[in-house]
Every structure is written in structure tokens, then in C-alpha cells.
């Protein structure tokens, strides 16, 4: 049990996929306009990553070495389309909000990266924990960036108004329009990597 905890912490904090491995930046910029999208995206990535890591790990001894990347891609894309279909059927609004980015999970480097770097060489259970750890690491970064962008860019959190309308009228405060644009996500991501390194994450204290 302790080793599982350690593995998850290692994957989500010390070698965080976004902050340390700097993978999956594209979607981290795109879907972090608000917290809700970040959460759904994070959940989708955890689902796909767990599925692909376990599937690849189960097949790791029979996958022909020369076509392993293609096989990994086939597994990943199948899972992504599955998630996309399920979202369309049961969470229609969310799938509309995420639009193409669900499909683009296929090209999310975290998933192929973990399949190639971990699942190909480890048994299914550790691969699952690795997937969950990395997925959590991806999700919390998205949620933190999403929270800042939603709060500063729209005065809301998870769709609830945090900064009251009267405050805008009384003080002339204006939402920061930059926050809803992609450059703001870049800036926040940079700050987040810096802070997490200072706190000992992202292999900062080595």
C-alpha cells in the first residue's frame, strides 16, 4: 500500500507530467478556460490513460517490437473514441464544451509517453497506478490553471459567481480579458512550474 502511495505521489508531484515532463501542454492551454472543463478533461484523460496503460501492459510480451508504437496508438485512439462517444451520449453539454479536445487526447503526449516508457516494461497493476498518478498530476495542474483563469477572467468559479456584480459597479473593476486567452495559460503554467519546483515538486530539490 505504501509503495502505491509513493508511486502515485511520485507520478503526480515529483515527476508531474505537465510541470516536470512538460507533456500535454497543448490541452493544458486549451481547456483551462474554466474549472468544469478542466475537471472533465482530467477525468477523460485518467480514464483513457488507465485503460491504455493496462491494455498495453497486458500485451507487453506479445506486441511485436517493430510495430509497438502503432499498436499503442491503435489502443489509445480506440479508447479516446469510446470516451468521446460516451460523453456525447451522457454528458452532451460537456462534450460540446470540450469539442475537438476530447479527440485530441489521442495526441496527448502523456498517454503515448506513459505507454511507451512505463506500461511496455511493467505488469498491469503498477501500470494502472502509474496511469492514475500521472492522470491526477495532469488534472490538478489543469484545475489550478482553470481556477485562476475563471476567477480572474470571469469572476466565477465552477460557474458560481465569486466576485459580485455590485463590486464591478462600485469600484470599476474589470475582468482581465487576457486570462481567457491562451497566452495567460502559458504565463500561469510558467508560474505554476516555478512554484511547484520551489515547493519540492517537479524534481525541484534534487
Amino acid at each position: 500500500m505504501a509503495s502505491i502511495k509513493k508511486q502515485i505521489k511520485e507520478a503526480s508531484w515529483q515527476s508531474n507530467p505537465i510541470a516536470y515532463q512538460v507533456l500535454g501542454i497543448c490541452s493544458a492551454l486549451a481547456v483551462t478556460v474554466n474549472v468544469e472543463n478542466a475537471l472533465i478533461m482530467g477525468a477523460s484523460v485518467i480514464a483513457v490513460l488507465s485503460g491504455s496503460n493496462v491494455a498495453i501492459s497486458l500485451m507487453r510480451n506479445v506486441i511485436p517490437h517493430r510495430i509497438r508504437i502503432i499498436v499503442q496508438l491503435a489502443v489509445v485512439s480506440t479508447l479516446v473514441i469510446l470516451v468521446d462517444q460516451v460523453l456525447k451520449a451522457y454528458l452532451f453539454e460537456a462534450s460540446k464544451a470540450l469539442s475537438v479536445f476530447v479527440g485530441l487526447i489521442i495526441t496527448n503526449c502523456i498517454i503515448l509517453g506513459r505507454a511507451e516508457a512505463f506500461a511496455m516494461g511493467n505488469p498491469p497493476m503498477p501500470s494502472l497506478w502509474d496511469a492514475i498518478g500521472n492522470g491526477i498530476g495532469y488534472t490538478w495542474v489543469l484545475v489550478v490553471i482553470g481556477a485562476f483563469r475563471e476567477l480572474l477572467g470571469g469572476g466565477q468559479l465552477l460557474g458560481f459567481r465569486v466576485i459580485p456584480i455590485s463590486f464591478y459597479e462600485a469600484t470599476g473593476y474589470v475582468d482581465n480579458g487576457l486570462m481567457v486567452l491562451a497566452p495567460a495559460a502559458f504565463i500561469l503554467l510558467g508560474l505554476l512550474i516555478w512554484v511547484s519546483k520551489e515547493l519540492g515538486g517537479a524534481k525541484g530539490n534534487e
Binding site: R66, S99, V180
Partner: protein, 247 residues
């Protein structure tokens, strides 16, 4: 370990077969639900375009939305000469015509009438399709029975950049269209989407701004241009119908 070519090809085929069977199965199993979601989504957007608010629709699941829709909306088919094709239903039109994807004017135009309790028209909504930056924009534009004053605009499908062009869905943007006019002295001029604030537009008279211009979206000028063009094109086939005074 070097595997034989036969093994590699066999493995590849095996993976493909398993994956495709899985996807085909899931897609078939979920198809009905997805199509229902799309239909409900379209009905919701028609309701929003003709002036119902989110509050009216809140907490309603799929079948409740459909019931509400049937209570307030009458689907009809009109011809380009302005007459109503009584014998035709929206469902009879070529597939996807209902959403504006595939309107063939000679076969009839879908029109959605909001009726009051006595059945008299309050407003009409019709599909509005435009070209954004990356994608086609699908929406509904609703006008008063005079065919001129806009009651509402809603978008339900597009592939614009989330956070930028996707703001066409946002309430602050679509609400700006309410009360604007499509016609000026009998000519279809549509609604101009300004760069920045409409009030700051140079070389345009105040009355023109009040009647025909809305605030733009920062970072999404091209999407805005698409919407602008759409308001000039989409009402055209319906002009004859409204000229006859609706019905």
C-alpha cells in the same frame, strides 16, 4: 527477439479487428441516445432563439424539453414564393434540412413559429448557417412576425476556438442581437458585428449603430465577420414569406 513478418501482420490485423468491433458495438449501442441528445439540443436552441430563457428550460430533461417545445413551437414549411406548404412537415424535407445543414429552397424551407395560447404567431425562428474561422456555424435566428426585428439568436454547433470564437454561444454576445433590425428601407442589410464596441464604430450614424450593429468579440474578428455575413444571407429565402405578412 525478432518476430516473423507473419506474426507481425497477424498481430496488427488482430488489434485492428478487436478495436473496430469494439467501436462499432459502442457506436451502435449509443446511437439512439446521441441522436436524441442532438434533437433535444436543437429544440432547446429554437426555444432559446424565440426568447425563452435558461430559467424556463432549467431542470428539464430530454422528454420534458420536447413536451415544452411541442407546446410552444409549431413547425412549418414555407416556399420561396412566401406561401406555406400545408401538406409538408419539417420531417419531410431532405435530411438535415431541419438544422439548416442542407436546405434546398425549392423543396421547402423549415420555419419554427412560436405561438401564444390561442395559436397566433409571436415570433418565427429559422436556421442560420454561416462560416466562421475554422468551421461552419449552425444556429437559429428568430424574428418578430414582421420579419425585421430580431427576437433572439442562438448557436448550437460550431468548431470555433474555445474561449475566443466560441463566445458566439455566450449570452452576452447573442443578447446583443435582440431588438436589432435586419432591414433598412426594405433592403436586407443584416447586423454588423463591430471590432470592439459598436458605439465606437467610425463613420456610421448613431441610428445605424442602434439598429444594425452589435459589440464584437476580442480575438475573434473573423468569427464575428462570419456571423455578420450570416445575418445578411440566412433571412433571404424567407423574405417573401414575411413580405406577405406571415400568416
Amino acid at each position: 527477439m525478432q518476430q516473423s513478418n507473419g506474426y507481425i501482420i497477424g498481430f496488427a490485423i488482430g488489434v485492428c479487428v478487436v478495436c473496430s468491433l469494439l467501436l462499432a458495438g459502442v457506436s451502435t449501442a449509443l446511437k439512439d441516445r446521441q441522436e436524441m441528445n442532438q434533437m433535444v439540443d436543437r429544440q432547446k436552441n429554437i426555444l432559446k432563439a424565440v426568447g425563452f430563457s435558461d430559467a424556463d428550460l432549467e431542470g428539464k430533461d430530454g422528454s420534458a424539453v420536447t413536451a415544452f417545445y411541442n407546446e410552444h413551437i409549431k413547425e412549418m414549411v414555407v416556399k420561396t414564393d412566401g406561401s406555406v406548404a400545408e401538406s409538408l412537415q419539417v420531417a419531410d424535407l431532405p435530411s438535415d434540412a431541419a438544422s439548416g445543414l442542407n436546405i434546398q429552397p425549392d423543396k421547402g424551407l423549415p420555419l419554427y413559429m412560436r405561438k401564444d395560447s390561442s395559436g397566433a404567431p409571436l415570433s418565427y425562428a429559422f436556421p442560420a448557417v454561416g462560416k466562421g474561422l475554422w468551421s461552419k456555424l449552425f444556429g437559429f435566428l428568430a424574428v418578430k412576425p414582421d420579419g425585421d426585428e430580431i427576437v433572439g439568436l442562438s448557436f448550437y454547433k460550431h468548431g470555433e476556438t474555445p474561449g475566443l470564437g466560441a463566445n458566439i454561444e455566450a449570452k452576452w454576445f447573442t443578447d446583443n442581437f435582440i431588438g436589432k433590425h435586419l432591414y433598412e428601407a426594405g433592403k436586407l442589410v443584416g447586423v454588423t458585428v463591430a471590432k470592439g464596441k459598436a458605439a465606437d464604430m467610425a463613420g456610421v450614424s448613431k441610428s445605424d449603430i442602434d439598429r444594425h450593429a452589435v459589440d464584437g468579440m476580442s480575438g475573434a474578428t473573423l468569427t464575428g465577420n462570419g456571423v455578420m455575413k450570416m445575418t445578411k444571407v440566412a433571412p433571404k429565402p424567407y423574405a417573401a414569406f414575411f413580405k406577405k405578412g406571415g400568416r
